[in-house]
């Protein structure tokens, strides 16, 4: 009864608020309805990016203006729209409601909850399209974003505010890599946004389940535009995710956004563009497909302290076919981002997971953000692995090798093994440093390659029991000093 009274009260106040002023609206008429797009006549004053409303209260977004007709993409169900329907101008550009309450929730491209729980009560609106912060407001990347994945934190480190592309064929762990990174942000004061574009609903559900199982939903927002939703919503999803990210960044927080994946986003945009009869270019993508992604990823940045000091780190995912990274969308996104993590099917099949191709993966700005402790151990690792790769290619044909070469190959094989990591098990900085230190300094050289994994586990569990203080200290300081190194040596020797 109380609820009913409350609603009646609300209705009364709403009616009073509205008053008796005449309703004046600009209107046009629907000429054509196509897949996700409506062509309308009239509305001569409408601006680009403005929102219009159809007679059945579905909203539209103007992305094409002509002398007599305008193209709008339909944000929602377009089956109820008929030719000749009236279209009203709403007079504002597209924005989404954002709120603190979104954390831990699943929303659609329009910022409305789709997880069946209650609506958000306190929201502010943020524009979906926004020009990225300029050079004055920015600061170079200098704080690390720990992914918890050894191979990435050691060899392709990511900093807060960086844009790092994850690229590779289907089904070889791109999403897993991104989700692991989200899981590892537990307690790191980073708000994560997972933006699913054109994915299967079952996959989105399983990703959410994984995030929840690992207790990472308390700092995560999922923006979902699955394959069954209209392409217009798939097209908008990454911009919405970024708008939500900007809301938190403006409060000085660090944000991580995963765009999964931008290939499907480009497909959605290609479909819209072809329906709008825009000239098609290479692979039938429209001419502005580069700008489509560059304006999105440019919004990832690290703000100067004067402007709040927040950051948005972007992890876009791009899917390749047959490992071909020289096609249109992959080359575009590679050139926009600050580096890429390249995953390879052959590596994946030979059991090296995450299947990161170290030679082709780079991080152009992350090095400045790597912690001192990691820098100390990873420098040697990088060099050893590079030499190992070179020698391994040569030595396949040689039967007799000199002692030094054999030792290199030996070490390299073990280093490759310790970079293997199970999914959904991110490691803390100190754990990573300990393992890499052990391998790079030859503590594992005497152990058979197949048993490296066991020894790694032994070291980790020994550290968890006896090396607690050491772990805490290194995780806190992010540096390895001489005495830490001595103690680590002792711990590793005891563990083995």
């Amino acid at each position: 009864m109380k609820k009913l009274d409350h609603l009646i009260e609300k209705a009364k106040s709403t009616i009073q608020e509205i008053g008796t002023a005449p309703i004046i609206k600009d209107y046009g008429q629907v000429l054509e309805v196509k897949d996700g797009v409506a062509i309308i006549s009239g509305l001569s004053n409408v601006g680009y990016g403005e929102v219009v409303e159809f007679q059945n209260q579905v909203k539209g977004y103007v992305i094409d203006i002509d002398e007599e007709r305008n193209g709008t993409i339909i944000l929602g169900d377009y089956l109820g729209i008929k030719g000749g329907d009236l279209v009203f101008r709403l007079g504002y550009t597209l924005s989404v409601p954002v709120s603190k309450e979104m954390i831990g929730r699943v929303v659609n491209s329009l910022g409305h909850p789709v997880d069946g729980l209650e609506n958000f009560t306190q929201t502010t609106n943020y524009p979906v399209e926004k020009i990225a912060p300029g050079v004055i407001k920015r600061k170079s990347v200098d704080v690390p974003l720990q992914t918890g994945i050894k191979v990435i934190d050691a060899l392709v480190p990511i900093g807060r505010g960086q844009r790092e592309l994850i690229i590779g064929d289907r089904g070889i762990g791109k999403t897993t890599l991104a989700v692991d990174t989200i899981i590892n942000q537990k307690g790191q004061n980073v708000i994560c946004i997972y933006c699913a574009i054109g994915q299967r609903n079952s996959k989105i559900a399983s990703v959410i389940e994984t995030i929840r199982e690992n207790g990472a939903m308390n700092h995560t927002i999922v923006v979902s535009a699955s394959a069954s939703e209209p392409v217009s919503l798939q097209y908008l999803a990454p911009y919405t995710a970024t708008a939500i990210g900007e809301y938190f960044m403006d409060q000085g927080k660090d944000v991580l956004i995963v765009y999964d994946d931008l290939t499907k986003h480009a497909w959605a945009y290609r479909q819209l563009s072809l329906i709008l009869r825009r000239p098609a270019g290479r692979e039938a993508y429209p001419g502005d497909v580069f700008y489509l992604h560059s304006r999105l990823l440019e919004r990832a940045c690290r703000l100067d302290e004067k402007y709040g000091g927040g950051s948005i780190t972007a992890l876009p995912i791009v899917e390749t076919l047959e490992g071909d990274i020289s096609t249109y969308i992959p080359t575009n996104v590679i050139s926009i981002t600050d580096g890429q993590i390249f995953l390879e099917t052959d590596l994946f099949n030979s059991g090296i997971r995450p299947a990161v191709n170290i030679g082709l993966s780079v991080s152009r700005v992350g090095g400045a953000a790597q912690t001192k402790a990691m820098k100390k151990v990873a420098g040697k690792l990088k060099l050893d692995l590079a030499q190992y790769r070179e020698m391994a290619a040569f030595s396949q044909f040689e039967s007799e090798l000199d002692e030094q070469t054999r030792q290199f190959l030996n070490r390299g094989a073990r280093l490759t093994q310790i970079l293997v990591q199970d999914k959904n098990q991110p490691l803390s900085l100190a754990h990573q440093v300990a393992i890499i230190y052990a391998a790079a300094n030859g503590y594992l050289d005497k152990i058979e390659v197949t048993k490296v994994k066991e020894s790694e586990e032994r070291i980790l569990s020994y550290l968890n029991q006896k090396g607690r203080r050491w772990l805490e200290r290194v995780n806190k300081k992010n540096v390895i000093e001489e005495e830490d190194e001595v103690e680590l040596k002792k711990l590793i020797n005891e563990a083995l």
């Binding site: 609300k10 209705a11 709403t14 608020e17 509205i18 005449p22 609206k25 009239g42 001569s44």
Partner: protein
């Protein structure tokens, strides 16, 4: 001369239209066409080439229902 359509729930008399023109002087420049639309319940809807002035009960009710829907 441009046309303007006035929708009402019954056919308006000349006096009524004249009164309306008095209230909204800009209507003088248009050729006025009157059409009956019972679904308005009461009031008027004035429709220019690309602008609509809704003075009907139907429009007002729609507005209220939309506001209420958005807020709850």
């Amino acid at each position: 001369m441009k046309k303007v359509v006035i929708y009402s729930t019954y056919e308006l008399s000349h006096q009524e239209i004249d009164k309306l023109v008095e209230k909204i002087p800009s209507l003088k420049n248009y050729q006025i066409v009157n059409q009956v639309d019972k679904s308005l319940i009461a009031g008027l809807v004035i429709k220019f080439a690309d602008r609509i002035i809704d003075l009907s009960i139907k429009g007002r009710l729609n507005n209220i229902s939309k506001k209420l829907y958005e807020e709850t």
